[in-house]
Symmetry: C2
Subunit: 271 residues, 2 copies
């Protein structure tokens, strides 16, 4: 299973926590991780040592700044936002599938069913959080981003990539142009670009399984008329996503999954 | 590491959850479990299969009712209360140490430091919860049970046994006599008997490490003037004990460690 992360030195612990949770809950599956970084991490040895001990293949992916010399780069749009959008340009050419994951994620059940998803002729697979906020969010985002063919507005924190098709269709030039033309309406640059340009070529997966917003337990339970309880989540949900500003690695974090996250973070440190 | 449990058919899931949590957090340690049962469990095969897969030695310990023919047995004092008190009578004679654990327990760090504790010439090692309630609890219990030499009133849910010494000193007759004489003041029969008869021969271990009462997070934090936070517990506490009526395997349970417990329960089912 090929996994893609994009990190800097401040989130190495979080990367290893996510990775450890994947390995525990997706047993007997060889893992290869590709870790995008715009300069060599000072903690490279720590990642290497972890991966050696846990039998994970580690591929650091150092970004060549030249790739983005034509990109519109400002304070609000640092070059890093393109790393995930153009990952296919600096991943090995023989890779045909990779799963990108944010590092504020904990995997608590087997990831393989997502990884092996039939993507049909879609570029990406991802989940939408629109149902959590309101039914009109999708419409507002379609209007804002000008993509009326897209079924939903997708969260790009868990993003399965169909690399052969992406190599053919996702071009740096299109992305740079889109950003230049839409600068004023983009809120989350990389996620908006993905949705604006390619939202109609996404395969939708259920967020309660593959991108559960850990802040929203009560809303999930209401939406499902009582079905998606804590027990249901523990049994069925694969990806817990700690969206928003309160992060589970902070000492004051007290969300429903705080003990679970912190325990995995602790176990990852013991490796 | 020798572990002792006493169960019936209703708590097999709980036993396996506790056991799984021990194995994950006490790696590279061969486990032998002795499971006291007063009739053969209908779920014996499930325990056997689990132990086979996880490489745990399983020893069912069937209780011979004749051992208790002289015991005072009533509705309030069923014969099962003696199983733990007299375990040494039906465990192999070459065993010199065993750790008894209740099944409402989750182990979240390495158990070996407790198991390898220097017991000196004490019969048992255990923790006290007296500090959680009030400083006078110990005194009241000493008075109630008539043992003024005991340092504390011990919780017997996590009980390390010094078997050679116990075989010499802990006699069925003494226990039966003590119960007959103190019937009216005993609240938790087996725990009270241990404390009343042998409380002065206990080695005390810290409850915040080896018998953390999961209901009492706020009180622990206060007692330690802020030190024993969730992060501290995750890093230092070995045994979480889900004391009281609200049990973490119930669907409505919402304690701070509910997600963590339920995740281990789920993993144990996948074995």
């Amino acid at each position: 299973m090929n996994l893609l992360f994009a990190i800097d030195d401040n989130v190495v612990d979080q990367l290893l926590t996510t990775l450890y949770s994947i390995q525990v809950n997706t047993p007997k599956t060889p893992l290869s991780i590709y870790v995008i970084q715009n300069k060599p991490l000072t903690q490279t040895n720590r990642i290497k040592e972890f991966c050696d001990k846990r039998n994970v293949e580690y591929h650091p992916v150092l970004i060549d700044g030249d790739l983005f010399k034509d990109a519109p780069v400002t304070d609000r749009y640092p070059a890093t936002i393109y790393y995930r959008l153009l990952a296919h340009n600096y991943l090995p050419e023989d890779l045909d599938r990779i799963l990108y994951l944010d590092i504020d994620i904990l995997v608590i059940n087997n990831l393989l069913p997502l990884y092996n998803l039939d993507m049909e002729d879609n570029l990406y697979a991802a989940a939408s959080h629109s149902a959590l906020t309101s039914d009109v969010t999708d419409s507002i985002n379609k209007l804002r981003l000008g993509n009326y063919e897209a079924e939903s507005y997708y969260n790009s924190g868990v993003l399965l990539m169909n690399l052969p098709l992406i190599r053919k269709q996702v071009k740096a030039e299109d992305i740079f142009n889109y950003i230049n033309e839409n600068k004023n309406t983009l809120l989350l640059p990389d996620q908006d670009v993905l949705n604006g340009l390619y939202g109609h070529q996404f395969k939708k997966v259920p967020d309660e399984i593959y991108n559960y917003d850990a802040r929203m337990s009560v809303i999930y339970q209401t939406l499902s008329t009582g079905e998606w309880t804590l027990d249901w989540v523990i049994t069925h949900t694969v990806v817990l996503h700690f969206c928003g500003r309160d992060k589970p690695w902070k000492s004051e974090y007290r969300g429903r999954y705080s003990g679970l996250y912190k325990h995995y973070a602790h176990l990852a440190k013991l490796v």
